[in-house]
């Protein structure tokens, strides 16, 4: 095989694997946006807050690395609950722009808390699998990103079960489709909303730890890209579609890596966004989307 073909395939694999981090963060966005019909821009930074808290606890307790996941999941779940409480609970339900703006405030706030806590410096994040490389024929693959891909599939499975096989899932779907009717049937809006925010927050915690460990460091620099790429992924996949978020994330990763290879860094984002723009114009509902949005 020629070098070119080898490289193109290597880029495809790199993009695919890196795309799984987009997928993981995109799932959280799509869950809140699509399933609950709410606009939450603070999700990316919720994930980051979970990862930072886990890092802090790890430093304070000198505990085992295994502590990272439960702490991050708990912390991010809690942040999710706070977001629901201060940005959604008291807002008018028929005007989505108000909570949208409130979550922007939340994004700024959590960002600044992180900046103040760390002076904005990048903090090393444990990466136990950071140097695992898999040789697949002539290609090199990153082990930690492969693991991330498997986790995002796992999260998708769990969410699917949750949404379609449990009472909570049923309640969630009914609330998002017919809030008034759902209330008439005795479903507590407050409880369901809070539950969804806590659960997506917890997914954010998992994503935060995995991304932190794949990057090898946490920095407030991550919050804007996480938010933007998470939104792009959710929209690309079609809002509300969890498999869509995964396919969208992987696709975004692949397009970015191939664009980087063929056009260079200065044009990577330009090409990616141009394709995204054109795609949205011709398919305004995303890959797996319905057109109701």
């Amino acid at each position: 095989m020629t070098d070119l073909a080898l490289d193109v395939v290597q880029q495809l694999l790199n993009g695919f694997l890196f795309g799984s981090s987009y997928a993981l963060i995109g799932i959280g966005f799509t869950m809140i946006f699509g399933v609950m019909d709410k606009f939450n821009l603070a999700f990316g930074v919720t994930a980051l807050a979970g990862a930072y808290t886990a890092l802090l606890v790890l430093h304070l307790t000198q505990g085992p690395l295994a502590l990272l996941f439960p702490v991050a999941v708990a912390a991010a779940g809690l942040v999710g609950l706070v977001v629901e409480l201060v940005c959604f609970r008291w807002m008018p339900r028929d005007y989505p722009l108000a909570p949208l703006m409130a979550t922007v405030g939340m994004l700024f706030f959590i960002d600044e808390v992180i900046v103040h806590g760390t002076h904005g410096r990048p903090m090393a994040f444990p990466a136990p699998m950071g140097e695992v490389m898999m040789d697949v024929g002539p290609w090199l693959l990153r082990g930690d990103l492969g693991f991330m891909f498997l986790v995002s599939l796992g999260v998708m499975g769990i969410l699917w079960t949750l949404v379609y096989k449990t009472r909570l899932g049923l309640a969630t779907r009914s609330v998002s489709q017919q809030p008034v009717a759902a209330q008439l049937c005795g479903i507590s809006l407050v409880r369901v909303n809070a539950a969804v925010f806590v659960i997506t927050g917890m997914i954010g915690g998992v994503a935060g730890v995995l991304i932190g460990s794949a990057v090898g460091a946490l920095s407030p620099l991550l919050s804007l890209p996480l938010t933007v790429k998470g939104l792009v992924t959710a929209v690309l996949g079609g809002l509300g579609s969890i498999p869509g978020a995964i396919v969208g994330g992987l696709l975004l990763g692949i397009v970015e890596y191939e664009a980087l290879y063929f056009f260079g860094i200065g044009y990577r984002d330009m090409v990616t966004y141009l394709l995204l723009f054109v795609f949205l114009v011709f398919r305004p509902g995303g890959l797996f989307g319905q057109t109701r949005h």
């Binding site: 409130a102 700024f108 200065g266 011709f282």
Partner: protein
């Protein structure tokens, strides 16, 4: 004085997002129009040696032209999808300026957009001896013109059309409103105003760099009318005052200032979800005026 000049750019930017929001769309493209206006006008004065007024107008026109162009494809896209599509536009513009190199040498200085190095030497104001007061007055000339234009529009049929489209597209279409025309017009007007704002900003700052024109600026552009309220043109102004006074007025809090910033946005949205000056307030104020003038029926 400098603060007043800054308010000018921000109010224009807020107004440009406001006119689009009236039609019920959220556009993150304003930062892109702003950047286009800034680079165009700066190139006109610094490289082509144009006088200032046509340069600023050219900046506005280029912004408006791109608003018009983006308006058409964006018609098909709505809600969050539109947010992302327009954000994509802003990022594309930013990346173009990251790569664009077009410089000339004047004496020992290099002037013009130098890719990642930024655009240096936009010194029209200072070379021509403008005082801070003159710069402020010049900026506000445009701000007042746009404000007056929007205020008149708001009271005319055009404003009603835009708001009708924003309230309920189906209903608006069924009474014979041309949705395409309304939305594209709003987008073009927004682009024009954002382009003017950028053009004025470029000459005030003397230096441009692509990283200023990203998602953050776009977020602020829509934050001004959303926090200030979309009830009338006073809304975006209230929004700008809210943010600017927070940024500059809370300096005495030192490090706490930035933490408080986010908290206050959240508090504000909880207290006045439709913004400081929302439709309800405008209606009440109008009612109050009417009451005084003719002691007529004071409904709601």
């Amino acid at each position: 004085m400098s603060l007043l000049t800054l308010f000018g750019f921000r109010i224009l930017l807020g107004l440009s997002a406001y006119v689009v929001i009236l039609t019920g769309q959220i556009s993150m493209a304003q930062a892109g129009f702003y950047a286009l206006g800034a680079y165009t006008a700066a190139t006109a004065t610094a490289i082509w040696g144009w006088p200032i007024v046509p340069a600023i107008l050219l900046g506005g026109l280029v912004g408006g032209l791109f608003g018009f162009l983006v308006g058409f494809p964006a018609l098909r896209v709505r809600g969050l999808f539109l947010v992302i599509a327009t954000l994509a536009f802003t990022e594309i513009v930013r990346m173009v300026f990251l790569n664009l190199k077009y410089t000339i040498r004047v004496g020992d200085r290099t002037i013009g957009p130098a890719a990642a190095e930024g655009f240096r030497g936009i010194t029209y104001y200072y070379e021509n001896g403008w005082s801070a007061l003159q710069i402020m007055a010049f900026t506000w000339l445009f701000v007042l013109a746009v404000l007056a234009g929007f205020w008149l529009m708001d009271r005319s049929r055009a404003g009603a059309v835009l708001r009708a489209v924003g309230e309920d597209e189906l209903a608006a279409a069924s009474v014979g409103i041309n949705l395409t025309a309304a939305k594209v017009a709003a987008m073009a007007a927004g682009g024009l105003v954002a382009g003017l704002a950028g053009a004025l900003y470029a000459h005030y700052a003397t230096y441009l760099s692509q990283e200023e024109f990203g998602a953050l600026l776009a977020t602020f552009a829509i934050a001004y009318p959303l926090v200030g309220g979309t009830g009338s043109v006073a809304g975006p102004i209230a929004g700008v005052l809210f943010f600017s006074l927070l940024i500059d007025g809370l300096r005495f809090l030192g490090d706490w200032r930035n933490l408080l910033f986010g908290v206050l946005i959240i508090a504000m949205m909880n207290l006045r979800p439709h913004g400081i000056i929302d439709v309800g307030l405008v209606r009440r104020l109008r009612a109050l005026l009417h009451l005084r003038r003719e002691r007529a029926y004071a409904g709601d």
